[in-house]
Amino acid sequence: MKNEWPLWEVFIRGQHGMSHRHVGSLHAPDAEMAIKNARDVYTRRNEGVSIWVVEAAAITASSPSDKGPLYEPSESKVYRHPTFFDIPDEVGAM
């Protein structure tokens, strides 16, 4: 059996109210130690209030060749963005 500690991806919530963001990776024997290691490695300059770790092997990623089909369709749906609509100034903030 391979004896290297598994690789974990680390996600940190920087401030209350923000979502978790991927900050990097590390090795740890299990999830509990991965959380502790993440605390020691990635929050040394008070970067975080909450940590998620997930074993890298458990991540399913989209494949680069899907880039077109996955993301381009949304490019043509500009009406989803609020700036698509002109609102008269008289109406006030919306």
């Binding site: 500690w5 590390l26 090795h27 740890a28 024997p29 509990e32 130690m33 502790k36 290691n37 605390r39 020691d40 490695v41 040394r44």
Partner: protein, 264 residues
Amino acid sequence: MTAAAAKAQPALTQQEAFVQFLLRMGDNTLILGHRVSEWCGHAPVLEEDIALANIALDLIGQTQIWLGLAADVQGEGKSADDLAFLRDAWDFRNLLLVEMPNGDFGQTLMRQFLFDAWHGLMLEQLKSSSDERVAAIAEKASKEVAYHFERSAETVISLGDGTEESHNRMQAALDYLWPYVGEMFLSDEIDAAMEQAGIAPDPTTLRDAYDTRVSDVLAEATLTIPESRFAQKGGRTGQMHTEHLGHLLTQMQWLQRAYPGAKW
């Protein structure tokens, strides 16, 4: 000097007793922080290297406040650095446990665990110290130490209950260090004075909680606590340190000793 003559020494003033207590706290963190810092760059894996450095940094930070306060209370115009770098071994008041050499990673973590378990309990009590400066230090330090304990306990468990080799090494570390546990719960006239003033608890009162804390973790680690309760002592009174302390001080104090008065 006979034992009787030693006893005949004049009693300490309250201020002197307070300084002694502060030195005990600050010397523990100073010496242990120094020991742990020796690992930097040499740990078994990068993540542990970084984690150990964090512990050492917390301890050095605590040292600056404890010894700073000791120097203030002493009122001789000294600084925390003067106390750390310009006293000789007999003036140090740390537990023997923390001056024990690092040994292998297991011995370092076992020493850390045995100390953290006590340190956390002590600081918890000190949070309600009648001296608000002590209470404030304890407030800050107890958060750091809660994490130290969590981490060292988990590591002791996983190495105790890991491979046969890691189990054996952890048991050896426990057997080696156990005689240095008892000193944490000894009590003398300084402790009595602190207790009376409501500054710090009588150390003997921490033993039961300590035993519960430690035995839970060690049971999960499948390690056996040695039966003997024999306690090596002499660190917190300064009467008899181990041979190890002198070497540590030789290194730590070298620049300050070789170039007196220089500013760094």
